[in-house]
Symmetry: C2
Amino acid sequence: MSNDACHCVLLRKATRKVSSYYDEALAPLGVNIGQFSMLRNIRRTEPVSLTDLAHRLDLDRSTVGRNAKVLARMELVEIGHGEDQREAVLTIAPKGHEVLEKGAPLWDGVQDEIDARLGAGKARQLQELLAAL
Amino acid sequence: MSNDACHCVLLRKATRKVSSYYDEALAPLGVNIGQFSMLRNIRRTEPVSLTDLAHRLDLDRSTVGRNAKVLARMELVEIGHGEDQREAVLTIAPKGHEVLEKGAPLWDGVQDEIDARLGAGKARQLQELLAAL
DNA sequence: AAGACAAGCGGGCATATGCCCGCTTGTTCA
DNA sequence: TGAACAAGCGGGCATATGCCCGCTTGTCTT
């Protein structure tokens, strides 16, 4: 009872579930929602350092670094050096752009499905509530 | 922009954030919100099999098994055998009950904080929206 | 009763996440 | 200029999660 009302547990459950929707849709491209989202974020301000990206994604820097390494291995991003020799900067590789293009409609599809299931108004509410947390 | 409107990414972000609230509050007890939640769930129907618990938690069975092992190592739960020799059944150990008792008020505190920040009505809305996903 | 089929697990493989420690590179101040 | 101090990372440690394969134990059908 009290458990079912736990914001955290419900959030975790919902996140796993919703993530799997996106993951399924993106599966043909070989990337999951986390990777796809990261690609999008990199594209927005490439070249971008791990630290900056981590700030924007609200993730630990080390997490971003490791995830970036996975994307690099898949040849979706390139990890280079900035002027500052300490900085590792990320840029989208050709294959990465391909994934971004092919993934956009798939991603939109899931998004639309969820909006439809929830109703546009409710979807907006959800966004606001999540942002307020 | 489109990224900020992504249900999934927002959910993931919110989950990480909210989880950390609970984790901080429970830190003195040495357990995180996932473990605490699992303890509560076990207590509700102990003894319970890994498979049953996995269904209830909406988690993969293997995940539950591994998490249970961690709890067992911490001496918070006991892993035994059911009549069916295949089944591994979980029960709360004495230390587990202790954690459950001491954790309840801490958990309530976070819950209340969130309710307060969101407003009771909004909190309820959030619950409903999450359930609808 | 024997063989087919199903249930319940453990462990391997891969990713995701956070925290902390230590190394390298930059910057700043005396 | 040389010595603190700060920034940016990588890698180690631990947990979390899902999927798949293979082993053991039960059940069911012929």
